[in-house]
C-alpha cells in the first residue's frame, strides 16, 4: 500500500504543539496589551464642543475645581457646570469670542452644552465622588494632572485593578484634606512619610471596601 503521508508528517504533532503554544503566547500578550483599559481607555481625548482649557482656567488662573464642579464634596456625582457658571466671567471676559458661541447659545436657550463624557464608570459600578474627596483622595489620583491639560484626556486606566490597587493599599495615595483640590500637592507619605499616612488612615477610620458589594451594589 502506498504511503499516505510523507515522512515529515512524523514531526507534525510536535510542530502543532509548538505552534499552539506560540499562538497562545501571542494571543495572551496581544490581548493583555491591546484589549485592557491601559490601552483602550488611556489617552482618550474627544473633541469637545467648546475648546475649554483646564490648563488655562485651573492651572494658570488657579480657579478651584469646586468653582465649576460644585457638588463634588456633597454628591456622588461630580457635576458639570451649567453655562450660567461660565457666563459669570464670560459676560465680561471675551464676551464676543466665537469659541464661546456654544456657551452663549446654551445660556440664552437653556439647552445644555453637549459635552462629551471622558471618564465613564460602568453602570454596574457604584462610584461616589464625595466619599473619595472627603477622605483625602485627590482628583489627580484618578483624573491625572487636569490642571495641565489643554484638552481633557483619560489619564488613568480606571480599570477594576486600578481601583483595587488603591483600595488595598491607600496609604501612599492619601492627601491632607486641604491638599485634595491642589493637583500639584504632595501626598502625606511624600511629605511626612508612610507612618504618618497610616496614622491619617487610622485616625479617620478610612477602610476602603474590598468586598464585591463595596462597589457592585
Amino acid at each position: 500500500m502506498s504511503k499516505l503521508f510523507p515522512k515529515s508528517a512524523n514531526k507534525l504533532p510536535l510542530q502543532i504543539i509548538v505552534y499552539l503554544v506560540v499562538l497562545a503566547g501571542v494571543v495572551t500578550a496581544g490581548a493583555t496589551y491591546y484589549m485592557t483599559p491601559k490601552y483602550t481607555r488611556v489617552g482618550y481625548a474627544p473633541v469637545q464642543p467648546v475648546p475649554y482649557s483646564h490648563a488655562l482656567h485651573a492651572g494658570q488662573l488657579g480657579i478651584d475645581c469646586r468653582y465649576c464642579h460644585s457638588n463634588v464634596e456633597k454628591s456622588g456625582v461630580a457635576n458639570l457646570p451649567t453655562s450660567q457658571t461660565c457666563m459669570n466671567c464670560h459676560n465680561q471676559v471675551k464676551k464676543d469670542s466665537p469659541l464661546l458661541a456654544v456657551v452663549r447659545h446654551s445660556y440664552e436657550t437653556g439647552e445644555a452644552v453637549p459635552w462629551v463624557k471622558v471618564h465613564q464608570t460602568p453602570d454596574y459600578v457604584y462610584f461616589n465622588h464625595a466619599i473619595h474627596v472627603n477622605r483625602g483622595v485627590s482628583c489627580v489620583e484618578c483624573h491625572g494632572k487636569i490642571n495641565e491639560m489643554e484638552v481633557v484626556t483619560h489619564a488613568q486606566p480606571l480599570s477594576m485593578g486600578f481601583c483595587l490597587d488603591c483600595h488595598r493599599n491607600p496609604a501612599p495615595r492619601v492627601r491632607e484634606p486641604g491638599d485634595v483640590f491642589n493637583l500639584d500637592s504632595a501626598t502625606i507619605a511624600q511629605k511626612s512619610g508612610l507612618e504618618a499616612a497610616h496614622k491619617f488612615l487610622k485616625d479617620r477610620n478610612i477602610k476602603p471596601p474590598q468586598s464585591c458589594s463595596g462597589c457592585h451594589r
Binding site: 500500500m1 499516505l4 512524523n10 504533532p13 483599559p37 477594576m160 485593578g161
Partner: protein, 475 residues
C-alpha cells in the same frame, strides 16, 4: 508432609471433580476476527441509512431550541430564566447535574471496569465514553451561560487579569470548574487513545477502497499507527495509566458536584450523605442512558452477537445496585432528619414528600426506587423493550431527583416570609429541551463516522482469541 507418596492420597480425591464455572461468552456465535472488523467498519463504510438522515434532521431541529434559548438569553440577560428569590438556582443547575451525572457511566466503564478486568466492558465502552463527552458538552452549557455575560466566562479560571480579582477557592463552585474541566479533558483523551488503532484500520480500508479524502482524514487522526508490537505495548501502557488517572475522577467529579449543595447551610442540602449518594445516582443515571442508547443501536445494526444478553444483564444489575443505593439514601435522609431532631431539617423533608412539590418527589421515588427493582427478574432483563422503557424511567427519575433536591429546599428556606414557588420560564424549557438535540446530533455523528466499538479489544475477548483453550481437559 512433603514426603507423602502418591499412593498414600485418599482414593476419594480421584473422584473429586473441580467445579466448572464457565465464563460468559462475550462474542456470540464464535464470530471470526474479520467478521468483527467488517461488522464495525461496515457501519461507517455503508451508505448513510435513511433513518439516520431523519434522526439527524429531527435532532438538529431539537438542538435549534437550545440555540434559540441561549441566543435570547445572551441578547437579553439571565433574567429571562425563571429564577427569582428565593429560588435563585433551578433548572440551570438541575440540568447541569443531570447531564454531568449521565457521563459517569462512561468513566466508570472505561476506568474502573478496565482495572477490574471486566471484559464485557469492551462492547460498550466506546459508545459510553462518547456519551460521556457529549453529556459534558451539554452540561457545560448551563453554568457557562448562567454567568450571563458569556464573554467573561474565562473569569472562572485563575487567569491574571486587569480586574485584579481572583477566584474564591473556598467555593465548591470553583472546585466544580476544575473537576468538570479535568473530567472532560481526561474523558476526551481516553476516548481518543482508544480510537487510534481503529482509526488506522479505517484509514487502511478506505485507502484500499480508493477513498483518498477519508483515508487522509482517518490517517491524520490515526497518528501513523502501524500496529507494531511497540505501538501496542505503548498503547496498553497509556490506556492503563489513563484508566488509573480516571478512576478517582469517577468518584471525585460528582462528589464535588454534591459539595455545591452539601457545603451550604440549607436544610436538605447540608448533609454528609451527599457525596456517595450523588456518585451512586450518577452511575445509576449513566447506565440508564447507556441502555437507552445501546439497545436501539444494537437492534438497528444487528449487534446481538457483540452486545449479548450477558452484557444487558450486567448493565441491568449495575443499574439495580446503584438504584437501590439511591433508594437507601432517600430513606436515610428521612431517618437522619428525624434522628437529628433539627426542626428545620425535619420540616424540609416532610415538605419534600408532602409539600407543594410532592408531585415531583413521588415521580422521583417511583422512577428511581421502584423502576430498578424490576431488574431483579430475569424475564424483565431478557425483554429488551421492557429494559429500554425502564431505562427511560431512570433518566426521568434522575432529572427529578436533582429538581427535588434543589428547588424544594430553596423554595422553603429558613425565612417563611420569603417562601416562593418556582416555575421555569419558556426560555429555560427551550434550552433544556434542545440539549437532547445537541446530544443526539453529536451521538449520531459519532455512530456515522467513528467505530462504535473497539475492534481490537473485542477480538481479544472472542473465544478463538483464547489460545489456551478452555481448560476442560486439564486433568
Amino acid at each position: 508432609m512433603a514426603h507423602v507418596e502418591q499412593a498414600a492420597l485418599p482414593a476419594i480425591l480421584g473422584e473429586v471433580k473441580p467445579a466448572v464455572f464457565p465464563r460468559a461468552t462475550l462474542v456470540a456465535h464464535n464470530r471470526s476476527f474479520s467478521w468483527i472488523t467488517d461488522k464495525i467498519c461496515g457501519i461507517i463504510e455503508g451508505k448513510t441509512p435513511t433513518w439516520w438522515w431523519w434522526c439527524f434532521g429531527v435532532a438538529c431541529f431539537v438542538a435549534s431550541f437550545t440555540v434559540a434559548g441561549l441566543t435570547y438569553l445572551v441578547a437579553t440577560g439571565v433574567g429571562v430564566w425563571g429564577h427569582a428569590n428565593p429560588v435563585n438556582w433551578a433548572w440551570d443547575i438541575v440540568n447541569f447535574v443531570f447531564w454531568i451525572g449521565i457521563g459517569h457511566a462512561g468513566t466508570l466503564i472505561s476506568a474502573i471496569l478496565c482495572l477490574l478486568r471486566q471484559k464485557w466492558r469492551t462492547s460498550i465502552n466506546r459508545a459510553a465514553e462518547a456519551m460521556t463527552i457529549f453529556a459534558v458538552v451539554c452540561a457545560a452549557i448551563f453554568p457557562v451561560f448562567h454567568v450571563g455575560r458569556i464573554w467573561y466566562a474565562w473569569f472562572l479560571f485563575p487567569i491574571p487579569n486587569y480586574n485584579n480579582i481572583w477566584q474564591n477557592f473556598r467555593s465548591p463552585l470553583e472546585w466544580d470548574v476544575f473537576a468538570v474541566s479535568t473530567y472532560g479533558t481526561v474523558s476526551v483523551l481516553f476516548w481518543y487513545i482508544g480510537l487510534i488503532p481503529d482509526l488506522a484500520v479505517l484509514r487502511d480500508r478506505f485507502q484500499a477502497a480508493g477513498n483518498k479524502v477519508r483515508s487522509f482524514l482517518y490517517g491524520l487522526f490515526a497518528m501513523g499507527w502501524r500496529g507494531s508490537n511497540r505501538h501496542w505495548s505503548n498503547y496498553e501502557m497509556a490506556y492503563l495509566i489513563l484508566a488509573g488517572v480516571s478512576t478517582p475522577l469517577v468518584l471525585s467529579v460528582h462528589t464535588i458536584v454534591s459539595f455545591d449543595f452539601a457545603v451550604s447551610l440549607l436544610p436538605g442540602w447540608h448533609t454528609t450523605i451527599f457525596p456517595p449518594y450523588f456518585v451512586a445516582g450518577a452511575i445509576f443515571s449513566g447506565f440508564g442512558m447507556v441502555l437507552t442508547l445501546m439497545l436501539p443501536l444494537r437492534a438497528v445494526y444487528h449487534l446481538e452477537d457483540l452486545i449479548t444478553q450477558y452484557h444487558i444483564d450486567c448493565m441491568c444489575k449495575i443499574t439495580l445496585a446503584t438504584g437501590t443505593i439511591v433508594g437507601y439514601a432517600y430513606a436515610m435522609e428521612f431517618f437522619i432528619a428525624w434522628y437529628g431532631a433539627n426542626p428545620n431539617e425535619g420540616f424540609t423533608f416532610v415538605n419534600r414528600a408532602f409539600g407543594l412539590y410532592a408531585w415531583a418527589y413521588w415521580i422521583m421515588i417511583s422512577c428511581n426506587v421502584i423502576t430498578p427493582q424490576f431488574f431483579w427478574f430475569k424475564a424483565v432483563r431478557e425483554n429488551t423493550t421492557m429494559v429500554w422503557v425502564l431505562s427511560i424511567f431512570v433518566n426521568v427519575g434522575m432529572w427529578f431527583e436533582r429538581f427535588v433536591i434543589i428547588v424544594t429546599s430553596l423554595a422553603r428556606d429558613f425565612l417563611p416570609s420569603s417562601w416562593g414557588y418556582y416555575s421555569p420560564s419558556i426560555v429555560e424549557i427551550f434550552t433544556f429541551f434542545g440539549t437532547f438535540g445537541v446530544f443526539s446530533v453529536l451521538f449520531l455523528l459519532f455512530i456515522r463516522f467513528l467505530p462504535i466499538m473497539p475492534m481490537a479489544e473485542l477480538k481479544a475477548v472472542t473465544p478463538q482469541a483464547n489460545v489456551h483453550g478452555d481448560h476442560d481437559d486439564h486433568h
